[in-house]
Amino acid sequence: MSIFYLIVFPGFISLFLFSLLCEYIDRKVTARLQSRVGPPFYQPWADFIKLMSKESLVPTMADRKRFTAIPIFGVAAVVTAFIYIPLWSTESPFPFTGDIVVVIYLLSLPTLLLFLAGWHSTNVFGTIGATRGITQLFGYEVPFLLALLSPALVTGIWSLSGILNYQVEHTWFIAYLPLSFIVAIISLAGKLERIPFDIPHAAQEIAGGPFTEYSGARLALMHLMLDMELFAGSALIAALFLGGFDYIGVIAGLAGSVVGFILFLIKTFIVLFILICIKAAFARIRIDQVINMSLRWLAPMVVIQLLVIVGLKFAGVL
């Protein structure tokens, strides 16, 4: 049974399909916001198959094994992070105490892997993109961590199933922690390197950044890693703040799980929609402005939220 969970649902194959669906929604809604038509629904599939069928070149001075290993590690990290997120009940297939920290750690692996990819490309653009990626990590990682761990601070339980149990019994955390929700979404945009934070692979300045030397199947896996990270990150925020599978009313049995899962998907797409609106409305900002903004606005917002929580807990309200 655990093999089924790992490979088919909610493991590799279903994450693959959902992340392609995610990319389609991203591109279509962005296009409609820019008053264009947008690609048809099979476009991400077509891109993936086309990239897999092309020749994959490795630069002469780069290390072939490391070059190939990086996309595979990335996909593996994101898939492993995703199977710990509870999709249709309070428990994921492999729950344990502390799994929220493991998920957050695994989701920050892709940034480090992009750094390695850029560094090992032996290309000027790769080096610059890699350093920019790591610099950006300094900016948003701390607010992201604090924002995602604030539900754990409220409940006092450090596992996703415990947090979801709390949300099922009381209200969803977005009512208690609105500032954390906002900070989590903005930091997720930074982690996924979406506009306005897509400095590391700023195509218009450094022609691709860490992705410059990748082509063919390796590039297909890199793009897949980014798409899966998009879906996994949105799903994590939906689980932590919007109540996951929870809905008003009770339907028993398998039908209840199915309804819960579909609502979970809808909540993930709501988070995705907010990310898309942020992408369509803004330009890219400079790397020093990213650090400036994170340390000046995001970190204080989340600290204020945490102080409010601590105060309320001390006063006995929560």
Binding site: R36, V124, A202, F282, R284
Partner: protein, 367 residues
């Protein structure tokens, strides 16, 4: 991985690059700070000035609008006026009005293209796509009036090649109303967008003396506070008969240049409206007789294109083809003097912002 001491990196801001148009430069970079920039012009050099020495004047009028791809009407206007100065021709009033209308529409087109490309290099995808859609309105007007969208081949020696129809006048009024609505959209979406202001404010600052030393013209000069516009100082065509303001700003940074161009779009719309209202009847072209084969003389004509001051120096020695044609392209100085000067000391992320805030067209630079 062997240890290497890297003092500075050389990055190609290459000719095949989404941000640079078709312009090659080498950046010397230390971390994120740019230590120096070395431009290498010539990627788009097609040799217009030499090609024009082997063709007669009507052929040259049609050839020259590829010398500045983004603002072709200014090139045709310049060449036609230079030859008319040698021949001593007087254009009928309707011809002058039509020429001015097309020149101003070309300026609006160039500025909207500039908004699109600047947004693209700043990573501002949405504004790029929307600006490209707004270009279509003016390209449709070009198509109605001249038969071609990008390369009009319309202004010739003696006037314009065809008359404008009532359909053109109606479509132009509708397009200008639409563009005015779009300008108020661009105001809050682009020019007062927080991220755009963050990228462009205090970047690439030029003082007035530096601007004059480096040879800046056009909106680059007017954003430093100097009031110089060829349309007001040495008027040509129908400009003496319209009222418009010359837009100047004080700060001299990239944001000031952007706001200058945005206000110029509004001024151009008002100029075209005035001209359409007062369009006179009459002939639109005076025929150039057999004396165009044996023109002899020299003339120098300056005009205000969308980029800056463009001048044509034509020497004709009595044979059918001109002896020498020299085009003073404004983008040549923008790219080769101002850009390296402003790029020194800025960061890599500022380079595309500075380059496109100077609004230099690589085709115009290389000719």
């Amino acid at each position: 991985m062997e240890e290497r001491e890297i003092a500075f990196l050389t990055i190609p801001f290459g000719p095949q690059h989404p941000a640079s148009g078709h312009f090659h430069a080498l950046l010397k970079v230390d971390g994120e700070t740019v230590l120096g920039l070395e431009p290498h012009p010539g990627y788009l050099h097609r040799g217009f000035e030499k090609l024009m020495e082997y063709r007669v004047h009507p052929q040259n009028c049609v050839l020259v609008d590829r010398a500045d791809v983004l603002d072709p009407f200014s090139c045709e206007l310049g060449y036609a006026n230079a030859i008319e100065k040698i021949a001593g021709l007087e254009i009928p009033q309707r011809g002058r009005y039509i020429r001015t209308i097309m020149a101003e529409l070309g300026r609006i087109l160039s500025h909207i293209t500039w908004i699109g490309v600047l947004s693209m290099v700043l990573g501002f995808d949405s504004a790029n796509k929307i600006a490209w859609g707004d270009r279509e309105k003016i390209l449709r007007l070009n198509e109605i009036a001249t038969g071609g969208r990008l390369y009009p081949c319309y202004l010739c020696i003696g006037g314009v090649r065809r008359d404008i129809s009532q359909e053109f006048v109606d479509e132009t009024s509708k397009a200008l109303d639409y563009l005015e609505g779009q300008l108020s959209f661009y105001d809050y979406f682009v020019f007062k967008n927080e991220t755009f202001v963050m990228r462009m404010e205090k970047v690439g600052r030029m003082s007035a003396e530096e601007a004059i030393d480096l040879g800046a013209t056009g909106p680059n000069l007017r954003a430093c506070g100097i009031d110089y516009d060829v349309r007001k100082d040495e008027p040509y065509e129908a400009y003496p008969e319209v009222e418009f303001n010359v837009i100047t700003r004080e700060e001299g940074d990239a944001y000031a240049r952007s706001l200058c161009r945005r206000d110029e779009i509004a001024e151009s719309i008002s100029i075209v409206r005035q001209l359409l209202k007062n369009l006179p009847d009459g002939s639109y072209r005076v025929e150039l007789g057999p004396e165009c084969i044996t023109l002899e003389g020299e003339s120098y004509f300056c005009l205000e294109s969308a980029r800056g001051e463009k001048c044509f120096h034509v020497v004709s020695d009595g044979s059918p083809c001109p002896y020498r044609v020299k085009i003073r392209a404004p983008s040549f100085l923008h790219t080769l003097t101002e850009f390296p000067y402003l790029a020194k000391g800025s960061t890599i992320a500022d380079i595309p912002a500075i380059y496109w805030s100077l609004d230099s067209c690589p085709a115009d630079m290389d000719r």
